[in-house]
Symmetry: none
Subunit: 153 residues, 2 copies
DNA sequence: TGGGATTATATGGGCGTCAATGGGTATATG
DNA sequence: CATATACCCATTGACGCCCATATAATCCCA
């Protein structure tokens, strides 16, 4: 599977290390399994992460916005300048930067949520609540959800 | 036959393993017979499952939504983080995640119901009751049922 | 075509490997 | 030199792989 899926709850040890879920590590290209990028989510108090290869895709999406709009500058600044690269050690663990811990409220445990081509890291309780809220909002729009889930090729 | 059809009742062993019905395994593409995806049904206390190929189509559709919209996050969260991938061993068995067991009430036995392009897994009693209820509802609308069954291609 | 032989499926269990986690020590970087 | 981080090793429990068996389905040949 080459997508980030499912959710995982991992502990942060005394040294601040946390395991990137094994199935997430396998999504990263074999060449760059020891490096990921992290940045603050624009829409929620969570961290978004992915392999370094995805940077190009993010750049493309931002480039598709109108260059002279305020959004362009805002997204460009908010995302690129906030990106940090982090090394994953041989056991698959990495350090969550202090600033991102503060931003998310993460203390002793981190919740990883697969999002397809990237993943999110949440303070566990907030992350679970977010999942419920999302699901509730979508159930109000059954039709569109069914479209995504059941459409046949 | 390349569709999930019929129903099967299989036991869950001490290790939590359960056999995916043989005829279901044969529906999966030969290349990916050792991995399936599972997710909570939107409409009932059951699990829905299918091959990983279907997930990739779903990913493509979500990816086409406006990346910076709220809908994107809702779909992405509700689908990707709720989906779990499970490995099917050489004997055709897999593990039902604890959370999905709780969601469905499955304990020692699992009922598999073919649904065409996907299948459902129910706690046996509830699954049978659901079948009866479905049929009863359909019979109230004989006309539309006949339409579906007799329509020629 | 009947009945024994072969194959497949569902199920049970042993055991090695890997993932998550903990901690000691070397190394780097300011 | 002090703090942070990378590397190495250890532990534990879960899971995958392998082998085994019983029952059911299929085959095959006299």
């Amino acid at each position: 599977m080459d997508l980030f899926v499912s959710k995982f709850f991992n502990k942060i040890d005394k040294k601040g290390r946390v395991s990137l879920p094994s199935s997430f590590r396998n999504v990263l290209p074999k060449a760059n399994r020891n490096e990921i990028i992290l940045y603050k989510s624009i829409k929620s108090p969570s961290i978004e992460g992915c392999g370094v290869g995805r940077l190009k895709e993010i750049a493309k999406r931002i480039n598709n916005l109108d260059f002279f709009s305020e959004d362009y500058d805002d997204f460009s600044t908010s995302i690129f300048s906030e990106i940090v690269t982090t090394n994953v050690d041989k056991e698959g663990r990495f350090l969550i930067p202090e600033e991102l811990k503060l931003y998310t409220g993460i203390k002793t445990e981190a919740a990883f949520f697969g999002q397809g081509h990237f993943f999110q890291i949440w303070e566990p309780k907030q992350g679970l609540k977010n999942t419920e809220d999302s699901r509730r909002r979508l159930l109000k729009e059954k039709k569109s959800l069914r479209m995504i889930l059941t459409q046949q090729k």
